[in-house]
Symmetry: C2
Subunit: 196 residues, 2 copies
């Protein structure tokens, strides 16, 4: 049995929610209140020592980190290319997403959403880092329809999650027309649904 | 033929350098001057559009992102466990490293090294985020000798790179005795050599 520990507001949990839906993988969902800090209770830490979501338990096997979960659940499916090199490129884009995109958009979105006041220098730093990465995505999408090969994959799911939230972190995505077209293609995939 | 685009000062290139040495993989090295911005020339961008290091070209196949490179080069070797679940855990720790450790240590180290003045709020933010993650590593190492299973793997290589640089970013690692013991075990692996 697969159990998915979810939270409604997170871009990282949305990735897993979307994958489970699009691959129609049978599972149970446990929804935690991430904003109410219900992910940091002693009870939940017994399940997941990281105290974060998303998390999965697959017949007792626990796995954290959204992109590791995507790669694990998508193995053998149409959403993860079979070739060694294509899988390496999927991982390349997923590491890019976690290192150069996710927090630079996710944290300012979170601060705005919860009216958390942060020093201007910090907000500017995050915003500038995100802008550089959005340009990298735009450049790639000027030459390609999808992030790896000619098809929608978990690399696209990983990158969509926070890219499509960039306006909530103060970014104007109309500057990035190729990115805008890819966001539209992404939303047209069978089984797509919005984060909230 | 495998070509490795390296730069001496980076923790991310050190990961790949160490793996290539420990697995004795035949390769050519091209060393770029990362501090002199030689990674952002038009010539290098023709090789690697990301304009960053590390990067590899394997018979024409280009791959960026240090941890994606480690996973690609280590496939089938003793440094990447064969089981699906163990590989998923390796990836879990590698995503953790890129999302919750690398930049929080790497950037302050870089600012100190180059005498780049940053707003105090920014430095404090990075330092606090790194401290939380170092505690996660300490907690894991209180129960385990290595990050995945009972053996040294690319997960350890990924995490070692910036963890061992934490003192250069202002952290006192004597607070983390289990982490200190793991750093020592890591340095005792056959073929280990220091970053610089």
């Amino acid at each position: 049995m697969l159990t998915f520990y979810d939270a409604p507001v997170s871009g990282n949990t949305y990735k897993v929610r979307l994958l489970l839906g699009q691959l129609k993988l049978p599972h149970e969902t446990v929804t935690l209140d991430i904003l109410g800090r219900k992910v940091q209770t002693p009870e939940y830490r017994k399940v997941n020592p990281f105290g974060r979501v998303p998390f999965i338990l697959d017949d007792g096997f626990g796995l954290a980190e959204s992109n590791a979960i995507l790669l694990y659940l998508a193995r053998g499916s149409r959403l993860l290319p079979a070739g060694v090199r294509e899988q390496a490129l999927v991982q390349q884009w997923m590491f890019f997403e976690q290192n150069q995109l996710e927090m630079w958009i996710g944290s300012p979105r979170f601060w705005r959403r919860l009216d958390i006041e942060k020093p201007a220098a910090l907000v500017e730093h995050y915003t500038a880092r995100a802008a550089v990465s959005l340009k990298v995505l735009e450049d790639h999408l000027s030459q390609h329809d999808w992030f790896v090969g000619d098809a929608y994959s978990v690399a696209d799911i990983a990158i969509f999650a926070y890219t499509h939230l960039a306006p909530q972190a103060g970014h104007d995505l109309t500057q990035f027309p190729k990115l805008g077209a890819w966001l539209q293609r992404f939303r047209q995939q069978p089984g797509w649904f919005p984060l909230e």
